[in-house]
């Protein structure tokens, strides 16, 4: 078969798709490992957390994120697409007025931000938000 320009382009994009697909599980498992380390393998229920993150972040170096989970003992924040998915863990003490916290985080690229909350009764809840990043914030 003749390699026309169109064929080569098609081949190229096919190869690209394979690379991205094989690349995905590596990130996913890193995140899953971090979640498993936090929950100890317990079941995680969707919902129960209020995660506020911008839909589009122009600068990935400083993305404002707020989490709130009534009745939570601690909340872990994860950025699934970062070289290291862990971002921060908030542990609430007896004088915490509300189980919420906000901070500014770095995101290397467009990705999902995930929050896992550990409740007082030992259950775990999860919430996620996709943030589009225009300029990545991990240097390199």
């Amino acid at each position: 078969m003749d390699f026309t320009r169109r064929n080569i382009l098609a081949l190229g994009s096919g190869a690209f798709a394979v690379v991205t697909f094989t690349g995905m599980p590596a990130f996913a498992s890193k995140t899953d490992d971090a979640i498993a380390a936090f929950t100890g393998g317990a079941d995680v229920t969707e919902g129960g957390i209020d995660l506020t993150a911008p839909e589009i972040a122009e600068n990935g170096n400083t993305v404002p994120v707020a989490v709130s989970a009534p009745g939570a003992l601690s909340i872990m924040l994860l950025a699934t697409g970062n070289p290291t998915p862990s971002v921060a863990t908030f542990n609430f003490g007896p004088l915490a007025g509300a189980r919420r916290g906000s901070t500014r985080i770095r995101l290397s690229k467009t990705q999902d931000v995930v929050a896992i909350a550990k409740m007082e009764d030992g259950t775990f809840y999860r919430a996620g938000a996709t943030v589009k990043v225009t300029i990545g914030g991990c240097g390199g």
């Binding site: 170096n61 400083t62 993305v63 707020a66 950025a79 970062n82 070289p83 290291t84 862990s86 971002v87 921060a88 863990t89 908030f90 542990n91 609430f92 003490g93 007896p94 004088l95 915490a96 007025g97 509300a98 919420r100 916290g101 906000s102 901070t103 500014r104 985080i105 770095r106 995101l107 914030g137 991990c138 240097g139 390199g140």
Partner: protein
């Protein structure tokens, strides 16, 4: 020790007993993530604040574990319950072992 580290904290001067107040904290710190490279392609070693603790009269309010994905000049906003007059104590722990502290008094009005 990282240079130019300066903690800044915003706490109301007075509160009603049992009131929930919002506290904002910021500390100037470059939070070098350990994945960036310098002009010659060498990795710049990680240098971050890895823990932040806020206490009121010896009781814990919040204890945050920080990873390199926290932005330069780590900022936190959180809520605290004020049962009585006293002092908030804020502590940041640096990777290099330095500890930065600041405190704020609050009165009951």
């Amino acid at each position: 020790m990282a240079k130019g580290v300066k903690p800044r904290v915003k706490v109301p001067k007075t509160a009603a007993a049992g009131e929930v107040i919002t506290i904002k904290t910021l500390i100037s710190h470059k939070m070098e993530s350990g994945v960036r490279k310098d002009g010659d392609g060498n990795v710049i070693p990680r240098s971050i604040i890895n823990r932040f603790v806020a206490d009121f009269n010896g009781q814990n309010v919040i204890d945050v574990t920080l990873q390199p994905a926290i932005s330069t000049n780590p900022y936190f906003q959180f809520d605290a319950m004020v049962p009585e007059a006293g002092e908030f104590k804020f502590t940041w722990y640096d990777d290099d072992g330095s500890v930065y502290e600041t405190s704020k008094k609050i009165k009951i009005a």
